[in-house]
């Protein structure tokens, strides 16, 4: 059998797992692994400028491909710098493996140089973690880490590797573990057949059904099945922020996103429905508004691969544990076999009501010829990219404008930090996407605040030629914070302004990229077209938008799903 050192086993196991890209940053505790990478590997390593960005890159890579993203960092500060990225991936159930160096086993617990208890620090935000104490255990630990990260409800896994375990002098027999066998870990994928029958009966008896689809449908690649299912029964469908693309944003039956900044028609349909079919969604507080007032007449069918998501915030009448794709296949078959039929007249009336809600055109905004409206900027991006770009977003008003005004045709096209809401996520995530799909159009929709949280990665983009397009909606403010202050704090703008904005154009140029400033709506489309035409250049578009815009609709705090602000002056109740 082949003899390898611990460090070599790390690299070899990754190779045998099919890992092609590794995002990382070296340091004392991982130098042996870096040396092994240098000597024996075809893995492309991307050296970031801050470890947080490495994790977000791996995350963007994972979100766009569905594969496990991998990163490598050193102990201590290298490891702690990954925490925000790990938490971001955890909240959105993204498959990821973080390999961190650790001080030698003999020094663990001694407050050694660059020692932090990474297993302890990351414990609440990982799906699982491994501290490897013997070199011989490395292949199995990494193999298991990838398996756990990518099966069941996906999530990040940390593998902590003490320095002595990597020792290049000590060689051990290496064999790739072909299979994983864990008696304590067997995620369920198939739904219980009796529950499936019950669910189909409930749907068939509905007069005002609505389908509510979240990120679980993305994770299980269920877009086609979701579409078939709602088309077969002519059901209205809404997506969560994480589920966008689970049905085409241009589909007739799609009501738009629901929740805090959801569309009027999506939130109204939920509130007035009598049966909700929740697929891979978790009744997050940004969706339900006040749970005690949540959808008073609805019977809830909740399908999720994670039993803890079911009846956590809103109790389900018909719980089904399983993967969305498998359960939908089971439901489709049950629909075929069942003699029950939907009440077509009731459904037609329901659609009529929904269409009346739609006619309120909650996303319309006042166009302007002298100021660029953020909504217009997103619509222009949609037009220029023909709706086909990967859109990676940061967090703030621009994120909601992107979610609402760019209809995504397919899953994995929309990439954002939904659960944790991490500013600084968008740009490195887009770099991960571009690494996976070098020929695709990849746009970052960001704000002047968020972009400055990982702007150092402009340097990485130059080194590795990662020509993403940065669409910065510059309102010279922490816009979402300002919106809340204007709405709920009598306009007291406590620290939501950025008083010394850098010259982003010069900054981009200083990093060797192209910078553009646009403030005239008439020039925007041409400027964006020019930017995307520069296929192998990173272009930073500093777009000066109307800073007065708020994101609407917006649910009213403590209210029900149907309590919304529709503009600065109009509310539903």
């Amino acid at each position: 059998m082949e003899q390898l050192s611990g460090a070599e086993m790390v690299v070899r196991t990754l190779t045998d797992l099919g890992v092609k890209h590794l995002f990382g940053y070296p340091g004392g505790s991982v130098l042996d692994i870096y040396d092994a990478l240098f000597q024996h590997s075809d893995i492309e390593h991307i050296l970031v400028r801050h470890e947080q960005a490495a994790v977000h890159m791996a995350d963007g890579y994972a979100r766009s491909t569905g594969e496990v993203g991998a990163c490598l960092v050193t102990s201590g500060p290298g490891a702690t710098n990954t925490i925000t990225g790990i938490a971001t991936a955890y909240m959105d159930s993204i498959p990821m493996v973080v390999l961190s160096g650790q001080v030698p086993t003999s020094l663990i617990g001694n407050d050694a140089f660059q020692e932090t208890d990474m297993i302890g620090c990351s414990r609440p935000i990982v799906k699982h973690s491994f501290l490897v104490k013997h070199a011989e255990d490395i292949p199995e630990a990494i193999r298991k880490a990838f398996y756990i990260a990518s099966t069941g409800r996906p999530g990040p896994v940390v593998v902590d590797l003490p320095k002595d375990v990597q020792n290049p002098q000590l060689k051990f027999p290496y064999k790739f573990p072909e299979t994983v066998n864990m008696r304590s870990y067997n995620p369920t994928t198939r739904g219980h057949s009796r529950q499936i029958k019950k669910a189909v009966s409930a749907i068939m008896a509905a007069k005002k059904p609505v389908v509510y689809v979240g990120g679980g449908a993305v994770a299980s690649e269920a877009q086609q099945l979701v579409t078939d299912f709602v088309e077969k029964l002519n059901l209205p469908i809404t997506n969560t922020l994480m589920g966008l693309g689970a049905i085409s944003g241009e589909h007739e039956q799609f009501l738009g996103m629901l929740g805090m900044h959801g569309t009027y028609e999506a939130n109204m349909s939920m509130h007035k429905s009598d049966v909700i079919v929740a697929l891979g969604a978790r009744f997050d507080d940004r969706v339900t508004n006040n749970v005690t007032k949540f959808c008073p007449d609805a019977q809830i069918i909740h399908v999720d691969i994670d039993p803890t998501s079911i009846s956590k915030t809103v109790s389900a009448h018909i719980p089904i544990v399983g993967a969305i794709d498998t359960v939908l296949e089971q439901m489709m078959q049950q629909i075929e076999e069942s003699k029950e039929q939907l009440d077509q007249q009731a459904l037609a009336e329901w659609w009529q009501t929904i269409n009346e809600w739609r006619s309120r055109k909650c996303l319309s905004y006042e166009p302007s010829t002298d100021k660029i409206k953020p909504q217009f900027a997103v619509e222009t991006l949609y037009k220029v990219t023909k709706g086909e770009a990967y859109v990676c977003s940061d967090v703030g008003q621009h994120q909601m404008f992107a979610a609402l005004y760019y209809p995504f045709k397919k899953t994995r096209q929309w990439i954002n930090s939904g659960g944790l809401g991490t500013m600084g996520f968008g740009f490195p995530a887009a770099m991960g996407v571009k690494t996976a799909f070098p020929d695709a159009q990849v746009a970052v929709i960001t704000g002047d605040g968020s972009i400055q949280m990982n702007i150092q990665e402009l340097s990485t983009c130059l080194q590795y030629n990662i020509p993403v397009k940065i669409i910065s909606l510059n309102n010279a403010a922490l816009g979402m914070v300002k919106q809340w202050q204007e709405m709920f704090y009598s306009g007291r703008r406590s620290h939501s302004y950025m008083e010394s904005m850098p010259d982003f154009v010069k900054l981009a140029e200083a990093y060797g990229h192209v910078g553009m400033r646009v403030d005239d709506p008439a020039e925007l489309e041409q400027a964006m077209t020019d930017a995307f035409a520069m296929k192998d250049r990173l272009v930073f578009m500093d777009i000066r938008i109307d800073p007065a815009e708020h994101v609407y609709p917006m649910q009213i705090k403590f209210g029900a799903m149907d309590d919304m602000w529709l503009s600065k002056t109009e509310r539903t109740s």
Partner: protein, 165 residues
């Protein structure tokens, strides 16, 4: 309501901290916790007593089950079960009258004196937690309690029901 959860998990370093961390992270309380390896050394068995209504207990059970190291979880309080806790109590025992009275109370509760000095009795008692509570209440009137240590509850289902691999 008080519940007794039994957990069977991998006997691995860090496994216990994941359980304890989960409880604190999600705001569940732990009244007592005992842990030790089982007859199969690769497995540990934990008994946790906690408080919560049905909905909370259902969430706790599901959350614990979701931990990758955990094989099985059961709520013992759902059915007939045996629960035992062991207590060691160091009691002031000065003068014949007090010594007699303490000894008598210990006998009533079927405890044993496991260490003696001329001013102290150290006694051992086992039983369900409420029996130990009752002993404390009874002996408190007789003499000074110097110190007490309790193991927390270990529990097992009655009859055929078993938590095993």
């Amino acid at each position: 309501m008080r519940r007794i959860l039994s957990i069977l998990l991998e006997n691995e370093p860090g496994a216990l901290s994941r359980i304890v961390g989960l409880f604190s992270q999600r705001g569940y309380n732990i009244e007592s916790l005992t842990v030790a390896p089982t007859d199969d050394e690769t497995l540990s068995r934990i008994t946790i007593t906690t408080m919560g209504d049905d909905q909370v207990i259902e969430q706790i059970t599901k959350q614990v089950n979701k931990l990758v190291d955990v094989l099985k979880v059961a709520d013992l309080s759902e059915g007939a079960h045996v629960e035992r806790e062991l207590m060691l109590a160091k009691l002031r025992a000065n003068g014949n009258a007090t010594r007699e009275e303490v000894k008598r109370t210990v006998d009533i509760f079927r405890g044993q004196v496991v260490d003696v000095t001329n001013s102290l009795y150290t006694v051992q008692l086992t039983g369900p937690s409420d029996k130990l509570d009752a002993f404390i209440a009874a002996v408190r009137d007789t003499t000074e309690i110097v110190e007490i240590v309790r193991t927390g509850v270990a529990g097992i289902a009655r009859g055929e029901r078993a938590l095993r691999q």
